[in-house]
């Protein structure tokens, strides 16, 4: 073992004033070069269309001075704060409190979710937002199987969402099948697509796998746009039947639920029904995933993420293990897609762009890969945060991006980075995120 380092050596750690000024001067120089044209020179079209310009060196000087001063302040703050470590930022007492809260946050969130339609019955906007959040929670849980457990980076997850949505839309509009028959079919078709994607990409790892899945997502979208005779092309599919409560429609008609229960019809009934439908679907996804983790297949997924070569040496068929991960994740995506179609009543390829894949992947990564609760928190933060910042108009994305950057600096492995063991003899202790691998595809 090496000799212990001196307990504290502030002199060696703290750079001298000269170094601070040097760094600040470099920052100021970079700012000067960057902003000299952006701020220093203002151009505009004159009255006759000719170019007129004038200089704004005063503003430029202010910005450069701000960068210089800010750089010094940041460096001083950093010295005052000392080296960043979790124990220093969060005192142990708070951490223990968080651990206690961590045990209760899941059940509390669940009870709250069940009560949302009761509490916010008259707040249509909040109900719609909760349905949206739950849809992304479900998608996140589905993708978590592929990315979080099996460690396969999938950038085209929206393809399975699209397959599920179109499966339901086309089966329902062309053959008049009910939602409850189409739902499993949509899941099976999406899982089939997952296997279809899985086969050619099994030998690829890491970045290469990500690119192929990205391409797969685009292929599905382009097929949806161009196969006009089946999918209606860019116009999408309209008039998708709304779900029924086991055959009882939620309409003001005489055979509707309201009439049967002899209560006044309200369009909110359907919203509440949709809310509980997606809540149930999401909880089924969660339950199945938690069960799968404790089964040999789930352990094989996680082992695959940890070390693929060792898996092969232990006689695990890595091909089928990867395929099942893809298929399971795709199936949940398909369920969510069918729900999306029935909720919207109209779908078009525009709903299934890469942006959706990126959003779901961001939820999984932000939540902490493999963590079920983390996905919920991240989905609330991402979708809810998106709505929260709506008042900021054009700065919304800016604030949102900044928040994400800060969050990833604070918790590089996601909100809940540690891993809970699937089986234990005596004590169920979480495994630090430093040890858990992210997988290489």
């Amino acid at each position: 073992m090496s000799a212990p380092l001196p307990a504290s050596a502030p002199a060696s750690r703290a750079p001298g004033a000269a170094l601070i000024f040097k760094n600040a001067a470099i920052s100021a120089l970079v700012a000067l070069v960057l902003f000299s044209l952006m701020i220093g020179v203002r151009t505009e079209a004159g009255p006759d269309g000719q170019l007129t310009y004038w200089t704004r060196f005063g503003e430029l000087a202010t910005v450069v001075a701000l960068v210089f001063g800010g750089s010094i302040i940041v460096e001083l703050l950093r010295q005052w704060w000392g080296p960043a470590s979790e124990t220093k930022i969060i005192p142990p007492s708070v951490q223990n409190g968080l651990a206690v809260a961590g045990r209760w946050i899941g059940p509390v969130l669940l009870v709250f979710a069940i009560l949302i339609p009761v509490i916010f019955y008259n707040e249509r906007y909040l109900l719609d937002l909760s349905i949206l959040v739950l849809t992304y929670v479900m998608l996140g849980w589905g993708l978590n199987v592929v990315v979080g457990l099996a460690g396969l980076l999938d950038l085209g997850y929206v393809a399975f969402y699209a397959v599920g949505a179109y499966s339901y839309a086309l089966l329902a509009t062309n053959f008049g099948l009910s939602f409850w028959i189409c739902l499993p079919l949509a899941g099976i078709l999406a899982a089939f697509c997952g296997v279809l994607l899985g086969f050619p990409v099994l030998r690829l790892r890491g970045d290469y796998l990500a690119i192929v899945t990205l391409a797969f997502g685009e292929i599905i979208r382009l097929v949806l746009i161009n196969w006009q005779s089946l999918t209606g092309g860019p116009n999408g599919v309209t008039g998708i039947p709304r779900p029924t409560l086991f055959g009882i429609p939620l309409t003001p008609a005489d055979d509707g639920l309201a009439a049967l229960l002899r209560i006044e019809f309200s369009p909110t009934h359907r919203i509440v029904f949709l809310f509980y439908l997606i809540l149930a679907l999401a909880l089924i996804t969660n339950w199945v995933t938690i069960r799968l983790r404790r089964l040999p297949i789930g352990r094989a997924w996680e082992a695959l993420r940890e070390d693929e070569v060792a898996c092969r040496a232990l006689g695990i068929n890595t091909t089928t293990t990867k395929l099942t991960a893809f298929a399971t994740g795709a199936m949940f995506g398909g369920f969510a897609g069918a729900f999306f179609a029935t909720r919207q009543g109209f779908i078009s390829p525009e709903s299934f762009t890469f942006h959706e894949s990126a959003l779901v992947l961001a939820i999984v990564v932000l939540g902490g890969m493999g963590s079920q609760l983390g996905v919920v928190l991240a989905a609330i933060a991402m979708i809810g945060g998106f709505e929260l910042f709506r008042g900021l108009d054009q700065y919304r994305m800016l604030v949102f991006g900044l928040a994400m950057v800060l969050l990833m600096i604070w918790r590089p492995r996601g909100l809940i980075g540690h891993r809970a063991p699937t089986v234990f003899l005596e004590k169920n202790q979480a495994i630090s995120s430093d040890l858990v691998k992210e997988g290489h595809g």
């Binding site: 040999p296 352990r299 070569v309 060792a310 040496a313 695990i316 202790q429 691998k437």
Partner: protein, 277 residues
């Protein structure tokens, strides 16, 4: 029970482009015994291992495995995970390859994957929590516990494998390989990086695996004290060919072996000679 050697390698060759890593190597490993494969660095030992365990497809040659019931398996015709699943050959790695983010117990549970997959009805029985699955899982945990106890890690069963000390990780990897219930256990430098006390414990563990489980062991090792103490048979390789073979005493006195070690690495040759005195 079959009396044929558990593994017989016949004229095995492995080429990487123009480089001949292994050239017409023939040897056999006797049943219920410990066979050591030694040689200077770069002699091709690990390449032989990778051929036997299906990580490389040999350029030519045959490798025949004979199970206790007399069933023979041609290893060069199997690949990848089937070597472990069907031929029952388990291996460890020169650089430890545990699942660091999983607990010691979980590592041993992953090793029982194929048996547990069947017991869980390819997941469907397990998903509904069938009693047969629960019983199988309990048995698997028991087996894992037995092995954790044997390697002295029972009280660290719930610790992440990546958090264990180096020597414990080495032993855990051997236990993990044994949880696949292999007929032949291939160990790639199991004593590398261990201190004298840990090496002695390792020798004891390997001898007990041979006598209690009846598992045949094939090992690559640089630590001559381990090789001389536990091996029943030693095969010496240099530059991809076999240069000597026999009992530890026999190869230790073989001038060709000493020359090979002297030519490649003086210190190891001295270690060979000194371990006999």
């Amino acid at each position: 029970m079959s009396e044929a050697p558990i593994l017989s390698v016949d004229k095995l060759s492995m080429r990487f482009g123009g480089i001949v890593a292994v050239n017409e190597l023939s040897f056999s490993a006797a049943r219920r015994s410990i066979t050591a494969l030694i040689g200077p660095n770069g002699a091709g030992k690990t390449t032989v291992f990778n051929c036997i365990t299906g990580f490389y497809k040999p350029t030519s040659g045959a490798m025949q495995l004979t199970h206790d019931d007399g069933k023979t398996i041609r290893l060069e015709r199997l690949n990848d995970f089937r070597i472990s699943k069907q031929a029952k050959v388990a291996r460890t790695f020169q650089n430890i390859r545990l699942f660091p983010g999983m607990t010691a117990l979980e590592n041993l549970m992953v090793a029982q994957h194929n048996a547990l997959m069947l017991a869980s009805g390819l997941t469907f029985l397990g998903l509904i929590g069938a009693p047969s699955w629960r019983a199988a899982e309990a048995r698997a945990i028991d087996l894992a516990q037995v092995w954790l106890k044997r390697i002295g890690l029972l009280e660290r069963a719930d610790d992440a494998a990546g958090n264990l000390p180096y020597g414990d990780q080495r032993r855990l990897e051997i236990a993990r390989a044994m949880c696949t219930e292999p007929a032949l256990l291939c160990l790639d430098e199991p004593a590398a990086g261990l201190n004298a006390r840990e090496s002695a414990a390792l020798s004891e563990l390997l001898l007990s695996i041979r006598s209690e489980q009846g598992t045949s062991i094939l090992l690559i090792e640089h630590d001559m004290s381990v090789v001389m103490e536990i091996s029943d048979h030693v095969v010496v390789m240099d530059h991809g060919v076999k240069i000597a073979e026999g009992t530890p005493q026999h190869v230790r006195d073989d001038p060709k072996v000493i020359a090979a070690y002297l030519g490649a690495d003086e210190q190891e040759a001295i270690a060979v000679m000194e371990s006999g005195t």
